[in-house]
Symmetry: C2
Subunit: 108 residues, 2 copies
């Protein structure tokens, strides 16, 4: 059985946000994003994939479209296809986010 | 911004496991499963959708294919399309699970 335990898989870097892939299938992928204080995922968009961010630890300042909200552990945020989105760790603590995206992006 | 806060949205029933939808798009859906002790999601399969279970609170006995594992809060489990899967709350505490599925099933 494919089981991913966050505590064992999370990786933080002093340089930038780290992404750790938990699962990839033909239909979806699931990552951990690990952010030290002040690290961020740059605001970006993808035309064909929806993303759900779930805050596992800490708090993040999320942008989706033109809106910005502080979201704490215990909540999920939807970033629909085509809308710009990103997250910044403005707290003084580490931020751990579970990210689910569908469908799996096809590059190249 | 579409934000779902688990503590506000979770609903338990003495009768059976409750499912609460958090997000539905053309590409995915995201639910909370809320299980009192001894409640379960019956083992089932779907040919075209992958599912990721994430245990938020408590612990569950998960079956995927022919394997069975106890999974605690802080881990995710992949149930690939076509494989039978289900979960039972064998602990004495409530079990709260975040569920992602892609693509969104099309019924009828």
């Amino acid at each position: 059985m494919k089981i991913a335990t966050f505590e064992k898989m999370k990786v933080f870097s002093p340089e930038k946000m780290k992404k750790v892939n938990l699962f990839t299938t033909e239909r979806l992928f699931c990552d951990l994003y690990c952010l030290e204080p002040d690290q961020f995922q740059k605001v970006h968009a993808h035309a064909g994939e929806d993303k759900v961010y779930t805050v596992l630890e800490g708090e993040g300042r999320f942008q989706v479209g033109e809106e910005t909200e502080i979201v704490l552990a215990g909540s999920s945020v939807l970033a629909p296809a085509g809308q710009v989105h990103g997250v910044t760790n403005i707290s003084g603590k580490r931020l751990l986010i579970l990210v689910f995206m569908a469908p799996k992006p096809h590059h190249g």
